[in-house]
Symmetry: D2
Subunit: 430 residues, 4 copies
Amino acid sequence: MADEYDAYVPEMVETRRRLHAHPELGWTEFETTALVAQRLQALGFEIHLGTEVVNPEAVLGRDPKAAKAAEERARAHGVPEEILQRMGGYTGCVGILDTGRPGPTLAFRHDMDALPIQEITDPKSGHLPAVEGFASTVKGVMHACGHDSHTATGLGVAHWLSDHKAELCGRIKLIFQPAEEGTRGAGAMVAAGVVDDVDWFFGAHVGTVAKPGEIVIQPDGYMATTKFDVNYTGVPSHAGGNPEKGRSALIAAADAAVMLTAITRTSEGDTRVAVGRLDAGEGRNITPVHAHMECEVRGSTFAANDYMFSRAQEVVKGSAEMMGVKYEIIKTGQAGVIETTDAALAAMHKAAGEIPGIKVRDYHNAGGSEDCTLFMHRVAEHGGNPGFFLFGCNHHGHHRPDFDIQDTKNMKPAFLVFVNLARDICGRRA
Amino acid sequence: MADEYDAYVPEMVETRRRLHAHPELGWTEFETTALVAQRLQALGFEIHLGTEVVNPEAVLGRDPKAAKAAEERARAHGVPEEILQRMGGYTGCVGILDTGRPGPTLAFRHDMDALPIQEITDPKSGHLPAVEGFASTVKGVMHACGHDSHTATGLGVAHWLSDHKAELCGRIKLIFQPAEEGTRGAGAMVAAGVVDDVDWFFGAHVGTVAKPGEIVIQPDGYMATTKFDVNYTGVPSHAGGNPEKGRSALIAAADAAVMLTAITRTSEGDTRVAVGRLDAGEGRNITPVHAHMECEVRGSTFAANDYMFSRAQEVVKGSAEMMGVKYEIIKTGQAGVIETTDAALAAMHKAAGEIPGIKVRDYHNAGGSEDCTLFMHRVAEHGGNPGFFLFGCNHHGHHRPDFDIQDTKNMKPAFLVFVNLARDICGRRA
Amino acid sequence: MADEYDAYVPEMVETRRRLHAHPELGWTEFETTALVAQRLQALGFEIHLGTEVVNPEAVLGRDPKAAKAAEERARAHGVPEEILQRMGGYTGCVGILDTGRPGPTLAFRHDMDALPIQEITDPKSGHLPAVEGFASTVKGVMHACGHDSHTATGLGVAHWLSDHKAELCGRIKLIFQPAEEGTRGAGAMVAAGVVDDVDWFFGAHVGTVAKPGEIVIQPDGYMATTKFDVNYTGVPSHAGGNPEKGRSALIAAADAAVMLTAITRTSEGDTRVAVGRLDAGEGRNITPVHAHMECEVRGSTFAANDYMFSRAQEVVKGSAEMMGVKYEIIKTGQAGVIETTDAALAAMHKAAGEIPGIKVRDYHNAGGSEDCTLFMHRVAEHGGNPGFFLFGCNHHGHHRPDFDIQDTKNMKPAFLVFVNLARDICGRRA
Amino acid sequence: MADEYDAYVPEMVETRRRLHAHPELGWTEFETTALVAQRLQALGFEIHLGTEVVNPEAVLGRDPKAAKAAEERARAHGVPEEILQRMGGYTGCVGILDTGRPGPTLAFRHDMDALPIQEITDPKSGHLPAVEGFASTVKGVMHACGHDSHTATGLGVAHWLSDHKAELCGRIKLIFQPAEEGTRGAGAMVAAGVVDDVDWFFGAHVGTVAKPGEIVIQPDGYMATTKFDVNYTGVPSHAGGNPEKGRSALIAAADAAVMLTAITRTSEGDTRVAVGRLDAGEGRNITPVHAHMECEVRGSTFAANDYMFSRAQEVVKGSAEMMGVKYEIIKTGQAGVIETTDAALAAMHKAAGEIPGIKVRDYHNAGGSEDCTLFMHRVAEHGGNPGFFLFGCNHHGHHRPDFDIQDTKNMKPAFLVFVNLARDICGRRA
């Protein structure tokens, strides 16, 4: 059932495979950002990069050393100095296509980061990227969640928008977000005001519950979450000789771990709290000087999650006070719940419904977290219409060494939903 | 083996039995204080009462309502208004015999309070106070620790001192202390400066490890201790309906109870910590608003105990902060360890050694606590010589309903140690 | 708008007021049970009493002493010995009207117990029971939740059923349940098999969200709950002298209180856990021998609540093991969530909808707990149709000293729902 | 002041430096053991090796892989197969010199193991072993506690004993113990019965409070200790998706860490408890499967330490039960307090007092732990006379990369104490 849109597919597949072979972890997507920026510019988009679209003060979970090293690597790989200068050490890109005609501001969001997973590279495994030679070339890093396809789809959409600019009105923003894994990046783009002027906003993800040939629309769901690390610093002493001179960071953390888990439930929604890692102490007979905890809270509403994080901070502070140790809380990630509007849901249903051979369904109450919700929250706050959908693929599970999305078949439906949304929302009025 | 001192015994026995029949709890010893004051005054002592010898700001574990009621009862029983006025609501008396001749300042300390124990009053029990008709006439209150004999001995010594004033030099202070039980009273007398000018200081207790016919001298021992109550005030809510609106005082107390017990050991000495009582909450399904804990710490040195109490305060504060509840810490008692000097030990050995038929021995490392140690600490601080001894009696155990001291035999040796000390230390120089 | 049903109202009002004046707490409803039994018997019902309808092994929260005293009081007040003998010390009654004709088994459930609340008895207060002279005659006990009206309505329905037996088929069971407060009684009747043969089952409650003139149908809601007490028994010792000989029940309870609160959340539903009371210890310097906790868990599903209680038992056991103390867990109450069927909902909507002047509406997600849910669960388990509704009244809040239901107006609608259900479900087939 | 003993010094120094250059960690002292065994055999001692003198069931803190690797290395370095076979995979050697004449059994104990510390090897540092070319040749392993000098002294004493056998009576046992660091080895030699027949027993350590020219005799001191690791194994689950399916090893460990620290003090002696390391969990949002704790308890008496370890095991077991996780407790080290006799103290004073230019003093209450105390305890149990002394050296602190003992001067005094003890105790009776 060939159609005019098929022309955009080979380019999207090629882009996706190029990204797949060169994955970059969150906050190190310098080469990906440069590729996106150069393409968008070539297509006539006005581009904004790095600190222009990311507020450094709101950045979460970024390792400055790793970012610096990645920037150097990008430079060595030939990324133009001018682009790196504009980025200012931070990844992320927003491309704006201004039709020059009055109309709504429409935004699409695409995330770009990969995961610290070693991909299967043996062709005998049957893993498609290995068989066809586009498996990750970076040891221990892999696009195992499909963000490569998100970015490639975004660039395909950019191409179509550029080709059809004359038929459109208003402004279209393509948001290429860093560091979605760990829900670290969206908040910093929101804080930079990237969607403050957006009337319609859409994001998408490949896979999860969506099977090949399906577009799944999410009217609600995800749990709001705050990820945070806690570090305690105690005072050392010989545990036998003069224990009273020590202040145990370990005991502060241990009591906090229990008391965090014991934060009272709330009627504001279902909640979660997890202390997933605790590492403390230097040796059996030394009063522990350091303790490091990795924690997260979740809530089925923003309010429930805020309650949990607010109480968590009290618990950590009190535990440090109890033991006379110092503490710091470092927020490393944040996401919300899906907030949408009837208009946005209707727009997605229409856009997906027009695609031949595609099944459209709603899905409630997805587990996990997605920081696209933070863009949606901001858009909803100022009266815009935010929406989120899934596009299908076969997979054994995300975040696995054998994750693949069968790009030749499965990117086109997502591309079409975006294109249809653009035509419906920004189609030039007679 | 009759001697000149036998003349003082019947009066001491009579006084002791009168006090035994009319016991008063700590900080309610209005009638006892009045009796002491009137006797001392009649014997030519200059007297100081209540707030003159007790610093109200340093008073621990005093129930103002109970004190007020006791004062009224004393008034009703005919205690002169003038004495009650001088007391100012606080019990305790210090009598000073100034010989007018240069010489050292010598102090003896006698405690006056009874216990909340119901004495056996059935004569068939064989319990001597019941058999001879001087058992407690106050329901649920009993001199079950022998402080009646301490006070009576002190008044016997006062009589002897008055009789022999001409043979003495210097000044002699007789300190009649309220509220030794719970180690509540000594600190307030020390804070009032009662022993600031004292060169030699001696206290004594009947029984414990001392058997009839023994004087036992303590070169060290007792554990320093701080007794304290903790009250938390939380915020109520329906535990099912809106748990997040509540702040549980119970959980704050529970975590504190564990963390108090977990205060690190110290090389500054052996320590103890106990949470003996915890009462919290209003009902099964209400977030607990109140929690009340009764605690104590101990240390084999002042430093060890201070460390424990200092850490305890941090723990309580931190636990309140963790749960977002209010707290208060109320110190209810305090005592130290025995501090003495070679001179004081020698003086006691000499004074006791001269008593015919009495065995003198040293005893180390007594358990329990005794707030006489606070007087001793202050005296030692300014270079004086403090000492403490035990005088024997047969008993089944202190703080029991059948405790008795066989006064006709066992008060005389204590009386003689004090008299000999007075003669040795304040004997008029040729 | 007088009708044939008005004839039943005066009797119901009189019965309700008689019960209101003579309230009985849970598991002590001997006189109420006897009154119910005698009425049902007179109306031609086959009756079953006490241990015939209550399984003693499944009884929760019953104080044997209070039950015995209440039985004696009932005897003194003239309750026939034969009835008391049949009860066997346990309250509760089931009356069965067997029409002799084939047909479904229909059950209605009415609870009978009062609350430990002192009613306002001053007529000047305007409180209707005080004004009209039927306020509680039992000090500190009051029908402050309207169970008097439930029982009275049940007897009114019994009268109507008896009058119209010839028009009915099948069997009708009227279940008069003890001890609903604290959700203690239903489980024991379910365990006795009282609803094992029931095809249709309905229960009702006055007030809560239902206003006068309203019948409110609950398609779901309530939280499943288990109430339980925990008692620890430790070993005493002097906290200063030989702390190692003691085993602190207080510390076991304190750690358990925190760890109970820290039971992990579950994806099986929203949950609650509360430690509402903790009382432990004997004195400041004695290792605590006793600790008593009053706890409850809740879940928005049976599974979620079962998970919580199962984990709670592990926590308590482990905490006792940690401290080397003994423990017991005493279940004191239990309730579930509403389980119903479309058929039952339709039947209630029809029955209520036929009542002139009554507004019918659905209500979701009521807070609190109601042990009628345990009957409903059993009926649903074997394929029957259980339902629950509310009938309105004006009130300032349940469990208050001024609670009243304006019986002359507000009992008739409930009576009519039951009567209509009986006619619809057990109406004689042509 | 040259004397006949000087002849033994160069050999001891050479041996010590050879050992220093080839340090071996606890339970891997295959080459050291072989060197000792070959020397003793050459000197006419009957030798016992490995499992003949070490009970494998009582071995603590031994890594089988590391032991195996060390055995292979020894084999590669030319240690005769016969010796390795006799060792049976376990290090340690006991040499017996039987004079054939009746007399007491005298034992000396020397420990052989090194520490996981990187020695300073730069000659410019001035560190003597680096300057004179005998610094450690094994990366990351160093004789930083002087056990090389202990072993070398023991072999020097063996030489003297062999030379003077004709002047001696009874039997002399030289015990060369593995794995003193972490107090891991002595218990297994005691369990093998190595000192069951010993009448007099002496051990020694270089340095600590002893200065050059000093022999320090310890009449008491050290804290008894038990070192142990705790491992918990929980059940993983996604902390957001289905937390109820997980069982957190981290929370079990955290509660245990607090409750271990909260083990009640004991009147049986001063105590310590430390949780020095806690490592738990796999990732922020995964219910932690593993938790590893490194702990130790101490007591100023065997009884106090036994109490602590007994309670610790209850706490760990209960914490696992609370969370439904598995646990294991692995004892990794054990030591006691010094038990000696007046006779042993007198013998050491005499032996040391005869050495020209040496100052002899007593030292009480040393901190730290020493597993020689376990030999001493067994010897005391069967009525023998155990003793322990220190011999001095200048040092900046043990367990440091620059630790040295100035062997040419400081080994001779220790050698002489042993020799004098041998002559005094096993000197041939006329």
